[in-house]
Symmetry: C2
Subunit: 225 residues, 2 copies
DNA sequence: TTTTAACCTGACCAAACGGTCAAGATAAAT
DNA sequence: ATTTATCTTGACCGTTTGGTCAGGTTAAAA
């Protein structure tokens, strides 16, 4: 971990200096900010907003604590930045809704994208879970505008499918909540799943099977395919 | 809140004193412990283990902070107590598995019981979510023994149904995780659902409809009924 | 009535907290 | 070569933290 970071820094030191034009300083900044954000995502996931400490973020990012505050004024700024970034990725996972293809294809694509995000970025998902569990104190505005608009537009699409008789008459919100819950469970409750799985993280094969099961149950459950 | 507590205390003061035999002191103890546990459940749900403060628990329980430590030696003791109590209730919700009735009836009963617990005790669910998200540091032993045994025995039952051709060939763990995730989502992400629902908590009717939708999608999804 | 055991609590403490700052190091611009 | 702007960091500060404790009150037992 430590050696990785040091190496990367030195690589850049050598590789970019010749490019001149202040690129080195810019690279240092980018490198450090990324390092801090990545560390913070993990620490916030583990301890929540209040429980996370800047000292621990600094330690995990391999920078002195004062340096964390050089790049980010407060703990809250870091937290908000990660929070919105995670949610933006989720919203983009529903791009499949936009091309008006077969509902089963659209829903499958969305569920699979969501599962993949849980696998690829579990800390971000867990940070979001913390945020909502504690009452969405920082994010209620964002949710009631951006996220709600996004959700409502998908609900309209689903209602269209129902009206056309393409799927069962299911309350669309219930369906979307089920997709949120189930896909994010594989990140948020990953530790619990790991314990049930004889204390081993799900293998690629196991995860792929889980993903396929989730898709199958939900699609069939709403009368698609 | 305050008046409720004071009244209750005085009621007991009058009502039980005549019973004699140290019942009053015992009643005081029980009353205070319950008050503290109820307050702690909420505070832990809101802030997680590290973020929760004994001062806030005390304030919410309407007792001086020192009194919290008179009844419970440490914050951790309170936390563990609530945690296991919540999980025990969940395990009992799967009692329906024991009478060998129709799979659809059993699964419906379990899902409905789980939904009802999310509605009745959201803070407990959120405390558990915190605990797992941060890595199940206090509960991994409990999960890998008691809870795992419980889960595995239900998985056996489901595999039996599959073998008898009563339902689709679904990986039972995927199904159980989906039930965990979806039912607990209504507690853990209750604030998010509330925001989507025009900033109003789900009414009894809305919740009942959600419950029925969850049951329908999952039962049909696994080929039951 | 006296004694005893349980309950109550303001005041306190060492440790940990988020954030600041001055002073030094480094690299870009002049 | 010198100035300027950015990056780095140990030391520090006021506040909050979980937990303690001595000295009090109250109710049960003797």
């Amino acid at each position: 971990m430590t050696s990785f970071k040091t190496d990367a820094k030195q690589d850049r030191h050598v590789g970019i200096k010749s490019a001149g034009n202040g690129a080195h300083k810019a690279a240092i900044r980018q490198e450090n900010e990324e390092q801090i954000l990545a560390a913070a995502e993990q620490v916030f996931a583990d301890y929540g907003f209040k429980g996370a400490t800047t000292a621990r973020i600094a330690e995990m990012a391999n920078v002195p604590k004062a340096n964390v505050h050089y790049y980010f004024s407060t703990k809250e700024v870091i937290y908000r930045r990660i929070m919105e970034d995670v949610c933006d990725h989720w919203l983009q996972a529903a791009m499949t809704f936009d091309n008006s293809a077969d509902p089963a294809v659209i829903l499958r694509g969305y569920i699979e994208a969501k599962m993949d995000l849980s696998r690829a970025r579990p800390y971000g998902s867990r940070l979001w879970a913390h945020e909502i569990i504690r009452g969405a104190k920082f994010s209620s505005d964002y949710i009631s505008t951006t996220v709600k608009d996004w959700l409502d537009s998908r609900v309209v699409v689903i209602k269209g499918w129902i009206a056309e008789g393409k799927m069962d008459d299911i309350e669309p919100y219930s369906l979307m909540y089920m997709i949120f819950a189930t896909t994010q469970h594989y990140a948020d409750f990953g530790r619990q799943i790991e314990i049930f799985n004889d204390n081993r993280p799900l293998s690629e094969e196991q995860f792929a099977e889980a993903k396929e099961n989730v898709v199958r149950i939900i699609l069939k459950g709403v009368g698609l395919r």
